[in-house]
């Protein structure tokens, strides 16, 4: 069964078409990789799935869990089970990091009709994730992403992923700017997230992250369109020969 169906999607920003008749599906439990050159529309696709208000849906549908979500607000999509791990997470000055995590976690859980966790249970969950991600103790005194290094920001995204517990996680160039050690921690966090009940959409330039999470399907985008799709072997061909030869 399809968890996500993107059907004939046309999207514009400032009157300019940037996604042109895009269609693809992600099944429950599936990992889909989206590749493509710079400016091909793959990061746009991530933001559109999350409901970025700057993008205008001209036509087409985004069906998630059987429901067309094009008119839903970002927070409603998050409640339905979509999570976006940002390429460049925002630094929010003065926003205490851990209290923020508790606030959004509680808010999401309540929106899904479940009982919000106690501070005690939240802390237990948080401590476990913090240990897995090898996060330093001083994070409890920090503000959300403020002054974080590139690697720390991506770890912070993975911490939020674990607390958001989505059905579909969209990773927008999560592997860019990571050293080998940070890549491993992030890759393992993605692997922990991925079960038979959860799906992942990985937007990337590189195959190195796919060492930790095996793709079922590869979609190649070019100039706002789906240019090719196939199995994991397509990704290998792309890496070997480059976009120009394959497309």
């Amino acid at each position: 069964m399809n968890l996500l169906t993107v059907k004939n999607l046309h999207v514009s920003v400032d009157g300019k078409i940037i996604l042109n008749d895009v269609s693809f599906t992600i099944k429950k439990g599936e990992t889909v990789v989206i590749m493509g050159p710079n400016g091909s529309g793959k990061s746009t696709m991530s933001n559109v799935l999350m409901g970025h208000p700057a993008y205008q849906i001209e036509s087409g549908q985004i069906i998630f869990k059987g429901k067309n979500i094009v008119d839903l607000k970002p927070e409603e999509r998050a409640a339905l089970g979509i999570f976006l791990a940002w390429q460049q997470p925002r630094e929010i000055a003065g926003l205490d990091f851990y209290p923020f995590l508790f606030d959004f976690h509680k808010s999401l859980i309540s929106a899904r009709g479940k009982t919000a966790p106690s501070v005690f249970n939240f802390k237990k969950k948080l401590d476990a994730e913090v240990a897995q991600l090898q996060i330093k103790d001083d994070w409890s005194k920090r503000y959300l992403n403020q002054g974080f290094s590139g690697g720390e920001k991506k770890k912070a995204e993975m911490l939020q992923l674990a607390l958001a517990a989505p059905t579909l996680a969209v990773f927008d160039e999560i592997d860019s700017g990571l050293d080998v050690d940070a890549l491993k921690v992030v890759g393992q966090a993605m692997a922990r997230f991925k079960t038979k009940d959860t799906s992942a959409m990985i937007v990337t330039h590189y195959l190195r992250i796919l060492k930790y999470i095996k793709p079922d399907k590869v979609i190649v985008m070019k100039q706002g369109k789906v240019a090719a799709s196939g199995g994991p072997e397509l990704a290998k061909r792309l890496e070997k020969s480059g976009f120009k030869k394959v497309l």
């Binding site: 999350m50 409901g51 970025h52 208000p53 700057a54 607000k73 970002p74 927070e75 998050a78 409640a79 999570f83 976006l84 940002w86 997470p89 925002r90 929010i92 000055a93 003065g94 926003l95 205490d96 851990y98 209290p99 923020f100 508790f102 606030d103 959004f104 509680k106 808010s107 999401l108 929106a111 501070v119 939240f122 409890s140 503000y143 959300l144 939020q160 958001a164």
Partner: protein
């Protein structure tokens, strides 16, 4: 120990998901009561004599009141700052009596007053933690308590009306010396009709660790409030005093012209914190001043919400060598409001230092102004002053101004001024919304982050309340 703020909110405050209507009902609720009987509008010598007689004041206080009244009648309205021409001084009630006697314990506090406190989310548990509570309801303090340990150290925390009887010499020596009635028209008005307020005396060398606090509330239609806070911190003593004010909304302009005087003796340290939230039609024209002696340190921490017009510039006069002052402030100007706030520091001695950090938010047509004066006199050798003002402007209809005045009469002075103005970043809001938070929750979080460097200086209960006030301000948008 640091608890997530949400946990405290849950314990102490009304439900987080307050709707616009419940917010309104908070502001609109007031107790129709007998409190107003026997009061009149307008001001004349007869009323001033009546107030003094009612309070059985000594003759010198009556004479001070009458001299102030004369000054008030002669002085013009300030010619600078926000327009005050719509303030009808003839329609204000200048004196009202609340209850006849002071309550001895929390149980004695009238139920309707407790209910109001509950709506404001003032945690009762605070009482056990904090040293003392004084709450002003209309013009008479109704509740006061102070832990025995402080009383035995000679700390006096009293209604000023009472202190005038029990500690007359101390009051006489200091009353309206830092803020003389000649300062401006509203200081003169205050001197004529002041009523109630707090007297705090910290004896030499005594250090009070817990914050002492009072809760003020203006709660009668068209009634002014002129409470006077007189604080004396003797040599090498240390204390922290905090007060909050809030008032429900009424259709008649109401006036608040309070006065705070702080005397910080040699090598003493004192922090005065306040969180004020006035009704949308109140004129909040408050005067706060500290005289800071040799090696002493004064801190002002303030949050200003609500009101129609607020004019408030806490002032530190650095009188002795090595005296220092910190001024930290937050102002939120919402629809139809002018927050004209800032700081004033007068360096009169060598090696004096001051540090001013102000943050303002303007929204839905609100106007926030930083107005500051730093003056370094010829005698103030090697003085240092740092000024930093940040403004957050939430929409194109709102405005922010920075009006810093700097007067330097000594070439050794080192002074830095930095000002920034910005708006909410759309990507920041989308980032938080992608985590499941609503647009107004996301905006409130960003605004709370912006003011956090100042809010974190407040005791936790007040910090939580201030964050809550920001959330309420962010929830209600005008079109």
């Amino acid at each position: 120990m640091r608890m997530p703020r949400e946990a405290l909110k849950k314990k102490n405050l009304p439900k987080k998901k307050a709707t616009a209507s419940s917010h309104d009902s908070l502001w609109d609720s007031y107790n129709q009561s007998e409190y107003m009987s026997g009061t009149k509008v307008g001001l004349d010598e007869k009323l001033v004599r009546f107030i003094s007689q009612e309070k059985q004041e000594p003759e010198w206080m009556l004479q001070k009141r009458l001299a102030s009244l004369k000054l008030y009648q002669e002085m013009p309205l300030p010619t600078w700052g926000p327009d005050l021409s719509r303030l009808d001084l003839g329609k204000i009630t200048y004196y009202a009596r609340a209850t006849d006697k002071q309550s001895q314990t929390w149980d004695d506090v009238p139920a309707d007053i407790k209910e109001t406190f509950d709506k404001l989310g003032i945690p009762q548990a605070e009482q056990e933690v904090l040293a003392g509570v004084g709450a002003q309801y209309e013009s008479t303090v109704i509740y006061h308590s102070l832990k025995e340990q402080f009383r035995s150290q000679g700390v006096v925390f009293e209604d000023l009306d009472v202190a005038l009887q029990t500690h007359e010499e101390l009051v006489k020596k200091h009353f309206m010396r830092a803020v003389p009635p000649t300062l401006h028209k509203f200081a003169a008005l205050h001197g004529a009709v002041w009523s109630g307020g707090t007297f705090l005396y910290i004896p030499k060398g005594v250090k009070v660790d817990l914050p002492l606090q009072a809760y003020f509330r203006m709660n009668a239609k068209g009634m002014g409030q002129f409470e006077h806070t007189l604080i004396i911190v003797e040599e090498e003593a240390q204390a922290h005093y905090i007060e909050g004010c809030s008032a429900p909304r009424y259709g008649v302009d109401s006036l608040h012209a309070g006065c705070v005087e702080v005397y910080v003796a040699k090598k003493a340290r004192f922090r005065y914190s306040s969180v004020e939230s006035w009704s949308k039609d109140a004129y909040n024209l408050n005067t706060k001043r500290a005289l800071v002696q040799e090696g002493a340190h004064m801190e002002w921490v303030g949050g200003n919400f609500g009101s129609n017009v607020t004019m408030l510039y806490p002032c530190s006069v650095l009188l002795g060598e090595g005296a220092s002052a910190d001024h930290l402030g937050v102002a939120f100007a919402n629809h139809g409001q002018i927050q004209d706030t800032g700081a004033k520091v007068i360096h009169l001695a060598p090696k004096t230092t001051s540090n001013i950090v102000m943050k303002s938010i303007s929204k839905d047509g609100g106007r926030a102004v930083y107005r500051g004066l730093v003056e370094i006199s010829a005698a103030a050798e090697d003085a240092v002053s740092n000024i930093k003002c940040d403004a957050l402007i939430l929409d194109p209809r709102s405005a922010s101004d920075t009006i810093p005045m700097i007067k330097i009469n000594n070439p050794t002075a080192v002074l830095a001024h930095e000002a920034t103005a910005g708006k909410l970043n759309d990507d920041d809001i989308f980032y938080l919304r992608s985590r499941g938070l609503s647009e107004s929750e996301a905006s409130a979080m960003i605004v709370n982050g912006f003011i956090n460097p100042i809010v974190k200086e407040l005791p936790l209960e007040y910090a939580v309340e201030m964050n809550r006030m920001v959330e309420l301000e962010m929830e209600n948008s005008v079109g």
